[in-house]
Symmetry: C2
Subunit: 228 residues, 2 copies
């Protein structure tokens, strides 16, 4: 039975969710086959069996797992003979620092830039849900966010400096090969570049070269553009 | 022969350098005895044998090592039977992410708050050197930095959010016990709290509890106040 991953999709099919990207890279890291099922924000019924209403949701035989970190831990536990997503202790704990930074600094910085772009790319039936939940979350209208984009891009560039500094000295966040730490940050930047209406990174940015290395490590070259 | 560490000191003897603190915690982690030699910014001659003009400088028998990361790597290589500062790969590479964040985000955020406070605490003969080099570095006078302190404190609080988020879920950055990743961040926050003219953290802040755990892990309780 093929593994299935419910994967957030824009109206044109672009898979832009940072959390789904991490899960897909974790599956690739483990060398596991899967197929994705495009999912819209309002398709809550399709994933009801997971006991919650967000993607990614992984269906692996009888197991249904949601939340990208739970999926990573599930894969690590269930496929111990495949390459480890973390490495020996204390590597998993250190990955959690990367996760906290990704979710506490990088995601908010990206969100402030691309929220209005996301809304325009969604299936029309998703747009009212998205607008309502995101405007409540950010306490601003999407139009106000769009007007503040230049300032938000400046903050994003500042936020990325520690990552660029790191990548000047090593190929991957985890060193010589990517692991879950790379997946976490890649998910964020893949989300940013797939959904932004304007290019966010210069082609020669260190993070762009690193994203290429991450994809190449899993034989996923060519996923830059569409991300399905 | 006793190991010696040249350690930056304020006029009253307070040891506030983030880079020296990391080196001291690394020595404690390895269980190595050492004595510190208080050093002032203008004591360039005292460390000339290290081939450069900054502390920390470790003198370990015939070996003279400068730069905190070089000291950590030297200790790891020279004392392989003492507890590892990093752990198995990919942990060292992941520590480098913590280092990039510490130096690329946290240090600048702290510096913007405490630069004027540092100057006032230095030995009078160090003050002109400090003022000149730091005003050139930040492209602002110390008085302008002091006036912008409220905004700088706000930025520092935002910068610390990913760390607080992490420490809500685990005892140390490296998980169950501190390693070099903890030393890097501890050095930064110890610098901040020892040198700030006003308290920067609430006593119940998660980072304060974590700093206490780091010191306790090495039997260094009581080092909060003075830091010698």
């Amino acid at each position: 039975m093929t593994r299935k991953l419910y994967d957030l999709a824009a109206a044109d099919g672009t898979r832009f969710s940072p959390f789904c990207w991490r899960a897909k890279l974790a599956l690739a890291h483990k060398g596991l086959d899967y197929e994705t099922i495009p999912w819209r924000f309002t398709d809550k019924a399709a994933i009801a069996a997971s006991g919650q209403d967000k993607v990614p949701v992984l269906v692996d035989g009888a197991n249904i797992v949601s939340d990208s970190q739970m999926i990573a831990d599930y894969l690590e536990r269930s496929y111990p003979n495949a390459p480890s997503l973390y490495g020996e202790p204390p590597a998993r704990a250190l990955c959690m620092f990367v996760k906290s930074w990704t979710e506490g600094a990088l995601h908010p910085a990206i969100a402030a830039v691309v929220m209005p772009d996301i809304c325009e790319r969604l299936d029309p039936r998703d747009q009212p849900y998205f607008r309502q939940t995101r405007e409540a979350m950010f306490k601003r209208s999407l139009e106000e966010m769009a007007a503040a984009r230049p300032e938000a891009e400046k903050t994003l560039r500042a936020t990325l400096k520690p990552l660029q500094r790191l990548l000047a000295g090593q190929d991957f966040i985890a060193g010589e090969a990517p692991n879950w730490a790379d997946h976490l940050v890649f998910g964020a930047l893949q989300w940013a570049r797939l959904i932004s209406a304007k290019p966010l990174f210069a082609p020669d940015d260190l993070v762009i070269a690193w994203m290429g290395r991450v994809l190449a490590a899993y034989g996923l070259e060519g996923e830059e553009a569409r991300g399905a």
